[in-house]
């Protein structure tokens, strides 16, 4: 970077940072994460509609504040489990957008060598234990990772991202009970985005607030405006710190809104255009941008972040486009790890 411009930005940032309690670097970091997720998913939507991506995709546009605010508290060695709507969780945990984009293309260079796709992004080095095609499946996995961390004497925490749909499943309740019973270092983050597929939260749950409900399990909980990244950040910080210091599990209910359909191409007969337009006004990315501006972050700083993230996503698309597809026979790799198990292949192909 040319020395002049970088220096200017840095000096401006230092000035602003002194004035605010949520340090501006953190604040800008949150913005950067949200912009990265937004740009990535907008691009994925375009690419999908252009027929470039196989399968189908679920977008979290409008929910970016939740992974951004939560993952800002996580270390690289902390664990995360995610959902079918999981691009944001992986990106916020630090997964390389290029590897993810290549995975969405089904390319050999993808995060999972083309074996998983959009609904199954993994990043073992960052403790990203998988997006998941089965609603709620990641919740016990996170609880188990938390139990292992404790038994192995580590101070790692695990975060399970889940949607409100998962709250209707048995393993959610079993996991809350067990996590509380055994004081596990796990935080359950419920992205209450108003819909489980096409069914509204109110049509599916006998209680209005998940956060309130789980107090019966003895789980510490917060309910926040999930489109307010600062509120998410503070509440998640409290719960992650508690979990890490051995005070047991927490649950964060982040009330947000799914601006896109359940999947790209969803006819969305279950809601009106007006409802979605009203929700656009609460767009978490734009909101946080306005807050940052009002706190004195210069426009040029924000634009620089946006430009960099735009470039990062474009580079990811180029990488994915230029990457080779896997050879068909690669389908038979990666099933098991034990080299002594050479018999596996022949077992199935005898």
């Amino acid at each position: 970077m040319p020395r002049g411009r970088g220096e200017g930005l840095r000096r401006t940032l230092q000035k602003v940072r002194r004035r605010r309690d949520l340090a501006t670097v953190d604040a800008l970091g949150l913005y950067r994460t949200m912009v990265r997720i937004r740009r990535f998913e907008e691009r994925v939507e375009q690419l999908f509609l252009a027929g470039k991506l196989p399968g189908f995709v679920h977008l979290s546009i409008g929910q970016e504040a939740v992974p951004a605010g939560v993952c800002a508290h996580l270390r690289p060695d902390d664990y995360v489990t995610s959902t079918h709507r999981g691009h944001g969780h992986a990106l916020a945990k630090g997964t390389d957008p290029a590897a993810m984009m290549a995975e969405l293309y089904g390319k050999r260079t993808g995060s999972c060598r083309g074996k998983g796709g959009s609904m199954h992004i993994f990043d073992a080095r960052l403790g990203m234990l998988g997006a998941n095609g089965i609603v709620c499946a990641g919740v016990p996995i996170a609880a188990g990772a938390a139990l292992a961390a404790r038994l192995l004497g580590q101070d790692r925490v695990a975060v399970a991202f889940l949607g409100d749909g998962a709250v209707a499943r048995g393993p959610f309740h079993e996991s809350l009970n067990l996590a509380s019973l055994w004081k596990l270092p796990v935080v359950f983050v419920v992205e209450q985005n108003a819909f489980a597929s096409t069914t509204r939260y109110e049509e599916a749950h006998a209680f209005a607030s998940v956060a309130e409900f789980v107090r019966g399990y003895g789980v510490a909980s917060h309910r926040v405006d999930g489109n307010d990244v600062e509120a998410v950040y503070r509440a998640a910080g409290d719960l992650v710190d508690r979990a890490r210091s051995g005070e047991g599990p927490g649950l964060l209910e982040a009330v947000t809104y799914r601006l896109r359909g359940h999947y790209v191409g969803d006819p969305q007969r279950y809601r009106t255009r007006e409802e979605v337009e009203q929700a656009q006004a609460r767009d978490p990315v734009r909101r946080w941008r306005e807050v940052l501006r009002s706190r004195g972050v210069p426009e040029e700083v924000l634009e620089a972040v946006e430009r960099e993230e735009e470039e990062r996503v474009e580079a990811a698309v180029r990488f994915a486009e230029e990457s080779p597809l896997p050879e068909p026979e690669e389908a038979l790799e990666d099933l098991v790890s034990d080299p002594g198990f050479a018999g596996w292949e022949r077992t199935y192909r005898a």
Partner: protein
Amino acid sequence: MRELTFAEATREAMEEEMARDPTVFLWGEDIAKQGGVFGQFRGLAERFGLERVRDTPISEATLVGMTLGAALAGARPVFDLHFADFLGIVMDEVANQIAKIRYMSGGQLKVPLVIRAPDGAVRSAGPHHSQSLEAWVTHVPGLAVVAPSTPADAKGLLKAAIRSDDPVLFFEHKALYPRKGPVPDGEYLVPLGKARVAREGKDVTLISYSMTLWKCLEAADRLSTDGVACEVVDLRTLVPLDWDLVLDSVSRTRRAVVAHEAWRFGGFGAEVAATLTERLWDRLLAPVGRVGARGVPIPFSPPLERYVIPQTEDIVAKVREVLGERPRGASAAARLGDGGRQAPGGPQAGRGTGGEGRAPSGD
């Protein structure tokens, strides 16, 4: 050699592996304070504490999901499912998560876990505590499936399963737990994916595993008095399967019967029979015979249970069938010393005539 029960042998395997590797944990219902329904965990909690040997609530689906999470996070958990029948409760975690996670992640993650599943019919446990469900999991790629028949193999295979970096479903027939057998002193492993010849013979190969292996050995004994030499193969591991040993045996004997306690229809034996037929069509002198449970739930009342589960005499009868010595007439039946079950109506009756469904006295 010293003798241990099957339950004691598995307990010893757990104890040795937990002592050797501090990342091995054991979870399940009734295992710590109670020592397991069959005594197979007795003393482990006393030695390793209630954190590592953990009594759990009845939340199998979540506990199996947690077992997976723990395995991904660097532990080597062993989960006791209490009864194999509870696979129905945990099937998403087993089939959609545990079996697939290494593959879906493009090989980034390993899944070193063991699920122990006591299965099979014993003492009228009824339809929800008697099933043999190994075919449910052999059908899902990515799961090792183990079903030992002897105490020595149970110990060596369980130790190998715990050390494996891949997920293992470990089926233990409940009727085997009190059975004694020789167990070597000291450290040994029985590798996954290796079958063994439990008895040598030249006329027909009986292929089995778990409890039914003993019925095959009994059948072989009975048939030997009539001059039929059965080779008996104990598969020990169903996935990965030791096709080399199986194909070698059957290409020598040129006849085979696969026997298991699971339902015959859609059972693991069907896979073995189909592959033998594909691979050894030119060598086989008869269709591969299959013996398995009849197509109803495992009933409660003792005579019903016994009727549904394959018995030694069913294996004997099936062997006779593949030997081409169906009881067509008095000479065949007499030579084979048929106890009558295969030839309803007695030596004079042809197939499908007279006296059907009547077991002669003495059966």
